[in-house]
Structure formats: structure tokens, C-alpha cells
């Protein structure tokens, strides 16, 4: 590293602090089709929030609405205290990182990163300083004079990131920024994005269809499906306390039993009574994760006591997957493999159950 870049690192203590983003009943309609339907969501300043959903869930439309590339049909979008729903994208001060990087091919790395400063009329020497600062944040200071075509995909994404933070945006939007990268690079970049966001205190809204990525990176994850927000919660709660069967099924595997609950007893549609901790009453769906299911002696006295026949067993890395035919229907269970356990033979009858404290009741019908 040259002495010049080291000294600049010391002289550019840019304290970026993101602001909050608030959606109030925000909708985008195309004809009769609601791409986004009455979205209410509050993103705290400095929070890393992922918007997660399958394709067609409306997550990309949400990103376009925040960036200002499409206008909402109704509702309000607030950036800090300011309603930005009618403000054009170039006046919003929101950095956007695109999946395909969207770097300007006719400009070199330095001019790309300097672009947002140039259009804001920042003086030349100040631009040089801030560009060096941003390139250092993404470890690309040695590539300042390269052409874009001379960079690999991962390097281009770093430049795109530098370009999006160099003007101290009020919020940072990322649209599946790592989708085009290979697996190892993706994990490195996840780590870097996260540490960059923390050190800058930047508000990040990160759109992805990759659950692992969302769970790895985010303070909270907003799950969308069919244009509607399903649940906003911490990664842990999304898994253990899903709001509805869609969310339950979206994060990992789930055994979903429909029935009704009353006074701490869940009765399945087939009439089987199972203990639960839920005290509310009404139709509901019980979610039991495969890894919560225990066999034989591991069960405690308050666990439901059920029997099932082994239909199939599969080794998946460090996990043994067991599919059971039971009075509840098909039940999936997993066990961690240690050297002593062998897969039960197909057709074996097993006794199984689960801790009622872990079974999660979702009120409402399927």
C-alpha cells in the first residue's frame, strides 16, 4: 500500500448514519393485480432488514418503490421524517446496489465511484479523497484505475458497493447483490457487507430470495408472499414462531397439522389430542419442526405419545432424515448423526413425541 492511501484513510472520518424507512399502507397496483398490497413496515435507523420472498412475491417491487423507479398507487413512504413517495429517484439520496452491478462501462473504477459526487458538484480534491475512502472500505484501492471490463464479478460488486456508499446515502438498497457470485465468494461478501453496514451504521434494505443469506445477514427479515407482508421478525423467531403456515414452510421443513385449539389441547382434524402451551381458542395450525421430534426413551412424560412406521430414511450430510407414516399423516423427523446411531430399518415401528413447549400453534385456518 502506498503512503498516500494510508494518510487519506486517516483524514476521511466520514460518519455515515442511516435514517429510518417507514411504509404506511403502501400499495402498487398494475391493473387489477396488486404487486404490493397495503405494506406497513418500519425499518429502524441503522437496521439491516432483508425482504425475503419467492419470485412474484412483490419484493422487487418494494425495492423499486423505495428507490423511486416506480410510483406507488397509494400509501406513504417515509425516509426519516420526509414523505418521499412523490420525490424522483435522483433526489432521494438512497444508494442502490444491483444484482448485475450496473457499473458504467465507459468510465473507469475511479470515475464510477466518483460519479455520485461529481453530479452533486463536490470539488475535485474532495472527490478524490472520498473515492479513495470508499475503495478502501471495500478493499479495492489498488483497482482505482482499472476499466470495469478488467474486473471479475466479485470485484465489480465491490465497486458497485463503494459507489453506493461514497455519497453517504440515507439508506442503502441491495437487490440480490450476491446472486451472480459463486458460493464461496458469496459467503465472504456476506461477511463484508455485514461488517461494512455495522461500521457505517448504515440502514440497509436487502432484497433476496435466499433464506440462508437473509438469516445470516439481517437484524430482522420481512417475509413477503403474493404482494403481502407475511411476517417481520428476527431470524430466530421466524423459525421458532412463524406467523402462518407459509412462513413456517418457507424456513426449513415443518410438519403442519391443522385442527383447533382449546384450553391447552390441540385437536387435529382427525381427532387426535395433543398438548400445547397455546391458551387461545379457535381453528389453528400446529407446527412441529423435524428436529424437535424425539424417539423412544428420550421422550418425557408430558410429551405426546405417538407411534409411526418408518417409510424411508436418508442421510443428508450430518443429518439423518426419517419419514414416518403416523396417525397424524406423514411426519418428517431428523436426527443428528453420531457414530453410534444407525438408521432404523424401513417398516420399523417407532414411538415418538415432542416437547409441547416447542410445538408452535398458529391461529387461523390454513
Amino acid at each position: 500500500m502506498t503512503t498516500a492511501t494510508t494518510s487519506i484513510a486517516g483524514t476521511a472520518p466520514i460518519n455515515t448514519r442511516g435514517v429510518g424507512v417507514r411504509f404506511e399502507q403502501l400499495s402498487k397496483r398494475y391493473g387489477d393485480f396488486y404487486a404490493v398490497d397495503s405494506l406497513d413496515l418500519n425499518v429502524a435507523p441503522g437496521e439491516f432488514l432483508s425482504i425475503l420472498g419467492p419470485s412474484g412475491s412483490g419484493k422487487t417491487t418494494v425495492l423499486m418503490l423505495i428507490a423511486g423507479f416506480v410510483a406507488p398507487t397509494s400509501g406513504r413512504l417515509l425516509l426519516g421524517d420526509q414523505d418521499i413517495s412523490q420525490i424522483p429517484p435522483y433526489k432521494r439520496n438512497i444508494g442502490v446496489v444491483f444484482q448485475n452491478y450496473a457499473l458504467f462501462p465507459h468510465l473507469d473504477v475511479r470515475r464510477n465511484v466518483g460519479f455520485p459526487l461529481e453530479v452533486r458538484g463536490v470539488p475535485k480534491d474532495e472527490i478524490a479523497k472520498r473515492v479513495n475512502w470508499a475503495l478502501e472500505r471495500v478493499h479495492m484501492e489498488k483497482f482505482a484505475d482499472r476499466r470495469i471490463s478488467q474486473l471479475s464479478g466479485g470485484q465489480q460488486q465491490r465497486i458497485a458497493l463503494a459507489r453506493a456508499i461514497v455519497f453517504e446515502p440515507r439508506a442503502l438498497l441491495m437487490d440480490e447483490p450476491l446472486a451472480a457470485l459463486d458460493r464461496n465468494l458469496r459467503q465472504d461478501m456476506q461477511y463484508e457487507i455485514r461488517s461494512l453496514q455495522r461500521s457505517l451504521g448504515q440502514t440497509v434494505i436487502y432484497v433476496t430470495h435466499d433464506q440462508e443469506e437473509a438469516l445470516n445477514l439481517s437484524d430482522r427479515v420481512a417475509v413477503m408472499n403474493l404482494g403481502r407482508l407475511q411476517q417481520v421478525d428476527t431470524p430466530k423467531n421466524l423459525y421458532l414462531r412463524p406467523a402462518n403456515p407459509f412462513v413456517a414452510g418457507f424456513f426449513g421443513e415443518a410438519n403442519l397439522l391443522s385442527g383447533k385449539t382449546q384450553g391447552g389441547v390441540f385437536t387435529t382434524d382427525a381427532g387426535i389430542r395433543l398438548p400445547v402451551t397455546e391458551t387461545r381458542e379457535g381453528p389453528a395450525v400446529l407446527c412441529v419442526r423435524p428436529e424437535m421430534i424425539v424417539f423412544g426413551d428420550e421422550r418425557k412424560s408430558d410429551f405426546p405419545s405417538l407411534t409411526g412406521t418408518v417409510l424411508e430414511t436418508r442421510y443428508r450430510g450430518s443429518i439423518l432424515h426419517i419419514e414416518l407414516d403416523t396417525p397424524l399423516g406423514k411426519i418428517n423427523a431428523v436426527q443428528h448423526i453420531n457414530t453410534t446411531n444407525d438408521a432404523p430399518a424401513e417398516g420399523t415401528t417407532l414411538e415418538f413425541g415432542w416437547d409441547p413447549n416447542l410445538g408452535h400453534v398458529m391461529m387461523g385456518q390454513v
Binding site: 423511486g68 424522483p88 457499473l103 460519479f115 471490463s149
Partner: protein, 272 residues
């Protein structure tokens, strides 16, 4: 793959056909080149002595020179007008809704579909009523309309191959619509704009039908002068000098375009 599909015999036939076709395309253009630099008056394809006297005559004879200068002026003004209108039009169409864009594109490209004779007569009737026949700028304007598609087509094609997200990226970074056009779109479109400009210039420089209608007795463009020369006194050898010069102009322009486009194509592709 062709090897297996055609067999040896088939490939020979195809090769021979291709050679004949290519010769037929380029010979009429090339045949005048040696004639134009031969010293004597006759039209021999393989000259005995070389001379540039026909080129000297093109510049030296006032009637030829005036026609040459006028044609260059008309082509320059017309292609500049067409380039400005065509680039703006192409950008506008790219932002219009698909239905509107379809209709607009058809209108802008119509001048190369509608027969020149029809356009010529149309402009003549319009200009005759407005007493504009035989004036310089109205002729340039008519030519600009004619050559508009030569700008529209390459620029539109390039616009559609440029990633829409570059525009969004520029906007998100704080560039307003005008700045986005000047800082992002125009630089990326530059090779196709230049290509369009060159095509437009060459077509206008060469155009005789509409010029015949609109130039009246006073304005004699080069193609018109050539046409008249052939009609009155048979082939003048100055014509061979004119065509050779035009050919050279076209070849040089095409070379510049292809080099430029190859360079900017590698730039644009690698960014995707």
C-alpha cells in the same frame, strides 16, 4: 457441421456460388476505380498509363466543383439535423409505452419504406405551394427526413442492448434525467450515433431522386450533375472519379465504425 451436412461436392458448389455472388456485388463498384485513374479518354478496365487528371477536373471545373461543394453542404446539414432528431427520437421511443413506441418507430422508419419517388413528389407539391423549391435549407430538410431512419435504426438497436439498470443506477446516484442522457446514455450510444451519422451523410450525398424534384434550376447537387452529364454527353470520365471518391469515403467510414464498435462492444458486454 457443414462438412457433414453438405459433403465435398456440395461444399464446392456452395463456395463457387458464394464467390460469384460476392464478385457480382462488389465488381460494379470496383470497376470504375482503375478507369478513374487511367490517363486516356477511353473506358478501359486495365489502364495503360495512370493519371489523376479526372480528379483534377472534378475540383478544377467550376461546374463540377460547385456541385461537389453543394452536395457536401447538403449532406452535412441534412445528416446533422437527422442525427439530432434521430437520437432524441430513439431515446424518446425507448421511454414510451410499448404500443406508442411501435407506432412511432414505424413513422420514423417510413422514409426508407416509402418509395423515394413518392416522397419526392410529396415534398415537391408541398414546397411548390410554399415557394421553397430550389432553396438550400428546404432541400436539406427534405434530405434530413429521408436519412432519419439511418440514424434511428442503429441508435435504437444500441439503446435496447444497453441495460436499463444503468439508467436507474445513474438516477439512484443523483443524476437527473438530462444528466443521465449526457453522462451515461450518449457516451454509450456514441459509436452507433456516429454510424448513423455516416450512413445518413453518404445516403444524402448520393441521393438524386428527391434532389431532382426539389433543387429547381439553381441548385445542382453532385448526383444531379452526374445524371445530367450522362444524359447529355454520355459517360464523362469525371464521373468515375466522383464514384471512386465516394467509394473511398464509404470504406473509410465503415472501417472507423467497425473498429469503434468492436472496442465499445467489449466494454459493454463485460459489464453485464
Amino acid at each position: 457441421m457443414n462438412e457433414y451436412l453438405l459433403g465435398l461436392q456440395g461444399r464446392r458448389v456452395l463456395f463457387a456460388y458464394a464467390i460469384v455472388l460476392i464478385l457480382f456485388i462488389i465488381l460494379p463498384a470496383l470497376v470504375l476505380v482503375p478507369i478513374s485513374i487511367s490517363a486516356d479518354d477511353s473506358f478501359v478496365i486495365i489502364p495503360e498509363a495512370f493519371s489523376l487528371r479526372w480528379y483534377e477536373q472534378l475540383v478544377g471545373d467550376p461546374r463540377w466543383r460547385n456541385a461537389l461543394v453543394l452536395s457536401l453542404q447538403v449532406a452535412a446539414v441534412a445528416s446533422v439535423m437527422a442525427t439530432i432528431a434521430g437520437v432524441l427520437g430513439a431515446i424518446g421511443i425507448s421511454r414510451a409505452s410499448p404500443k406508442v413506441a411501435k407506432v412511432l418507430r414505424l413513422i420514423f422508419i417510413a422514409p426508407i419504406i416509402v418509395p423515394l419517388m413518392v416522397i419526392g413528389v410529396g415534398f415537391y407539391m408541398l414546397y411548390a405551394r410554399m415557394r421553397l423549391v430550389g432553396s438550400f435549407f428546404p432541400l436539406c430538410l427534405a434530405h434530413a427526413v429521408l436519412v432519419l431512419p439511418f440514424v434511428m435504426l442503429p441508435v435504437s438497436a444500441r439503446l435496447y442492448s444497453i441495460d436499463k439498470r444503468l439508467e436507474w443506477a445513474a438516477a439512484s446516484l443523483g443524476a437527473g434525467p438530462y444528466r443521465t442522457i449526457f453522462r451515461v446514455q450518449l457516451p454509450l450510444l456514441a459509436p452507433s450515433i456516429f454510424a448513423g451519422f455516416v450512413f445518413a451523410f453518404i445516403f444524402s450525398f448520393d441521393e438524386v431522386v428527391v434532389a431532382q424534384f426539389l433543387s429547381g434550376p439553381r441548385l445542382e447537387t453532385l448526383p444531379r450533375r452526374m445524371w445530367e452529364g450522362i444524359q447529355m454527353g454520355g459517360l464523362e470520365k469525371t464521373i468515375t472519379a466522383v464514384t471512386t471518391a465516394q467509394l473511398l469515403l464509404a470504406v473509410v467510414a465503415m472501417l472507423i465504425i467497425s473498429i469503434w464498435q468492436r472496442r465499445s462492444a467489449t466494454k459493454a458486454v463485460s459489464s453485464k
